[in-house]
């Protein structure tokens, strides 16, 4: 890359309702809640470094967004997450919509207020969890119909309902409800889902009551079929959404097919809008997908694997509970400057992981978050 990467974002003290005033040209509509500035572009790949301005501050991309499913980043406090340099993380609409529910969260001042997280938040639509977590869910044109696992009542998650919940959560970025199908599926269902996702996108856009504070992203579908995906891209890019996610991948497909679809998508997405590749988080995938032109990533893997005592390192991961680490007096990673590596050895973590003190999990979670947020996408990724 020609230009050096700019420094990490600074925190704004209050949410900005209208962000893009300066970027908007003459004769444009009301300012959007998002502005993307491309800071540097790679000469050899499609990688780019950007500044993404959102209501709760600026985020430097490419960015890895840790997943804090139920309004918490597992054992890590909001203050710790902040000091690890995290400027945007995820909350799950399905989980939070069930417990504690959108009304309560709204009363608490949105998810930001409820968690006391003053940086950015991205919420998903709830669709993916329902389809993957619930045995009995049914998709119709209306929405996704399912039974609550807590009290058995029947619930319909429609595009309107999903946006309504996300409006109550007050996330800076919200995702459209999409018709999700497995990437290994073929046939007419894939095409049906793609078209429905477009219709649902339009319904979501209409339903968004806070477009000046919450950014609705579209999700490109079409499975592994280049024709379907291109069709979806053609249609969805006609809609004036602040950003696009590449969906329907990171399922059971082969790496080759996966990368083909990613690069096809980024080829047809506008340069000046952020590209969010959903569910991608393994280090190698991150590096490749940045080179293919993606800006934003999320994955539960780093935080989930931490809770099994697995620490992420450049060469893969260390299963710290294994005997081989009992007398290993190095830190997890010599080059890592996270609080865990600054103070603790693999041997201590090994011993602590074999106790029932949850602090062990927090040490590894902290390291893994730092690793993902700084590591593969850190200032050196340009390499």
């Amino acid at each position: 890359m020609a230009a050096p990467r700019e420094s990490q974002s600074t925190r704004s003290p209050e949410p900005m309702a209208a962000v893009a005033a300066s970027a908007a040209g003459p004769g444009t509509r009301a300012p959007a809640a998002l502005a993307l500035r491309v800071v540097a572009e790679c000469g050899r790949s499609k990688a780019r470094a950007c500044e993404l301005r959102l209501p709760h501050g600026t985020v430097a991309t490419p960015v890895f967004m840790p997943v804090g499913t139920q309004g918490t980043m597992k054992g890590v406090t909001a203050a710790q997450l902040d000091s690890l340099g995290c400027r945007i993380c995820l909350g799950n609409t399905y989980h939070l919509g069930m417990r504690p529910g959108p009304e309560l969260i709204q009363k608490a001042g949105g998810l930001h207020g409820f968690m006391n997280w003053n940086q950015n938040l991205l919420t998903d639509s709830g669709g993916f969890q329902m389809v993957s977590l619930l045995a009995l869910s049914e998709v119709t044109e209306e929405g996704v119909r399912f039974r609550s696992p807590y009290d058995g009542t029947e619930i319909l998650l429609s595009p309107e309902k999903s946006v309504e919940i996300q409006n109550a959560l007050g996330s800076d970025i919200m995702m459209q409800l999409d018709d999700v199908v497995s990437s290994t599926l073929t046939g007419s269902r894939v095409e049906e889902a793609m078209h429905r996702s477009i219709r649902w996108l339009d319904r979501c856009i209409s339903a968004n009551r806070r477009p000046d504070q919450q950014n609705l992203f579209a999700i490109i579908q079409g499975g592994l079929d280049p024709v379907l995906r291109s069709k979806c891209l053609e249609e969805m890019t006609k809609r004036d959404v602040p950003g696009f996610a590449i969906g329907g991948l990171s399922g059971g497909e082969s790496k080759e097919q996966f990368w083909k679809m990613v690069t096809l998508s980024t080829d047809q997405l506008p340069r000046e809008k952020p590209r969010y590749l959903m569910g991608v988080g393994y280090a190698t995938d991150l590096v490749v997908c940045v080179a293919l032109g993606c800006d934003m990533f999320d994955c539960v893997f780093p935080t989930r694997t931490a809770r099994f005592g697995s620490a992420l390192v450049p060469t893969g991961n260390l299963q710290l509970k294994k005997k081989q680490f009992a007398k290993d007096f190095q830190p997890i990673d010599e080059a890592c400057t996270c609080p865990t590596c600054q103070r603790h050895t693999r041997a201590f973590l090994h011993a602590l992981l074999h106790s029932n003190n949850t602090a062990a999990l927090h040490h590894v979670t902290t390291h893994n978050i730092a690793y993902q947020v700084w590591g593969p996408l850190g200032p050196d990724f340009i390499g």
Binding site: T77, A79, Q80, S83, A108, M115, L352
Partner: protein, 412 residues
């Protein structure tokens, strides 16, 4: 180590321990408590989250039961437990057992005492015990002792006598071994007072232990339900009367605020801080007031915050589960439905990280959804509250207001 008393009255002592630590430059106030840890770490807390707590004790309690199985690792590490666990700045007291997880009875012989680690039972002869201490290099450690004076559920005079005899024998053996090791000579041995509920045995244990060159005393076997409160306090007072003034008195297994105050009045100086951990584990937050000289406005705020508490009042929940100690009147249970939409802090007026940054509703949500952060936030609050309580005790002693504090605590 030098003990300075600034006040002695009605049984209690207020003072400082000076010239502590490797460099002899550290100080500890008493009455006070030690930081409770499990496998060398404060429960739920990493260094960063421990740092946000005010008044963390200068001395940390380690348990031999959680660390003995790592003996080989520590031997190879060579630099002592403080550095190994990432707390190089702290002082350490190593107790034999964990106050929260009492070990099964029947595993003490004339030659050894067993401790239970994660990997199972570890038999500690005096020699093995001292080599483990050599690898740990704590500032203070409880001497190997026989803490069993019960035969089943009741005290047995015969068993009590044996516990005293054995503990003295272990003490003498360990003192000999200490003499032979340069590393161990720089550690302070804490002698253990045993004797069950037999006054004669308690006195014998106290007098005999006091004859040995120990640096302090641990009053063992006063926890649990086997003794009545009256007996316990009588015995503690009798024991401390036999002990030299210039050495600290520790007690194990006592953590409830009212019991702490009673023991202080009976001459005890130092306590453990496992109680806030137990409160945390049952999803509760310490809420008792130790502000015996409150601002009338604050009292009103506290009362309003607690107004629904009146229904539950100060009755102690007698429902016990196999693992959990029942809730006390010193805490609120944040899992209760009424906290679901309570956006106030866990305890009004508390300045801990949890109360400054989060609401009861949020902690309730974390508990209901079984999230790890619940333990982190509650542990922060509970430790800070408890350490604040000890600070208030010292303050009350300084100002001769112990009676008022006691009244406040016992009416919780």
């Amino acid at each position: 180590m030098k003990l300075s008393l600034s006040k002695v009255a009605q049984g209690y002592r207020l003072g400082t321990l000076n010239n502590l630590g490797r460099k002899g430059d550290r100080t500890m106030e008493f009455p006070g408590c030690l930081l409770y840890t499990r496998t060398g770490s404060a429960p739920h807390l990493t260094h960063d989250t421990l740092q946000v707590i005010s008044r963390v004790p200068v001395m940390t309690q380690l348990t031999l039961s959680s660390l003995a199985e790592h003996y080989e690792v520590l031997e190879e590490y060579k630099e002592g437990i403080g550095k190994f666990i990432g707390m190089p700045e702290s002082m350490f007291y190593c107790s034999l057992h964990d106050p929260v997880n009492p070990c099964p009875a029947g595993y003490v012989t004339n030659k050894s005492v067993s401790v239970w680690g994660v990997g199972g039972r570890l038999e500690m002869t005096a020699a093995k015990f001292m080599s483990v201490q050599q690898a740990l290099q704590p500032d203070w450690f409880q001497c190997l002792s026989d803490g069993e004076a019960l035969c089943g559920e009741v005290f047995s005079a015969k068993r009590a006598r044996k516990s005293v005899d054995r503990s003295l024998a272990f003490l003498d053996e360990c003192l000999k071994l200490q003499e032979q090791s340069e590393v161990l000579r720089s550690c302070v041995m804490i002698g253990v007072i045993e004797g069950g509920d037999i006054l004669e045995e308690r006195l014998r244990s106290a007098r005999e232990t006091a004859k040995r060159p120990v640096g302090g005393f641990l009053l063992d076997g006063f926890h649990g339900d086997a003794m009545t409160k009256e007996t316990r306090l009588q015995l503690i007072s009798a024991v401390t009367a036999e002990l030299p003034e210039d050495k600290p008195r520790l007690i194990c297994g006592i953590g409830q605020p009212d019991e702490v105050l009673e023991c202080i009045e009976a001459g005890v100086d130092l306590f453990e801080s496992f109680f806030p951990y137990q409160v945390t584990e049952r999803g509760c937050a310490l809420s008792f007031s130790f502000d015996y000289q409150p601002n009338p406005e604050d009292t009103l705020l506290q009362q309003n915050g607690e107004k629904e508490e009146g229904e539950i009042g100060d009755c102690i929940d007698k429902v016990t589960t196999t693992k959990r100690v029942p809730e006390t009147s010193f805490e609120i249970n944040l899992k209760e439905k009424k906290y679901r939409d309570d956006f106030g802090p866990v305890v009004e007026g508390c300045s801990c990280y949890c109360c400054k940054n989060h609401s009861r509703a949020y902690v309730h949500h974390l508990l209901v959804t079984n999230e790890l952060l619940a333990g982190v936030l509650l542990m922060i609050h509970n430790f800070q509250h408890y350490f604040g309580f000890f600070c208030a005790i010292r303050e009350a002693l300084r100002k001769d207001r112990l009676g008022q504090l006691k009244e406040l605590i016992c009416s919780s």
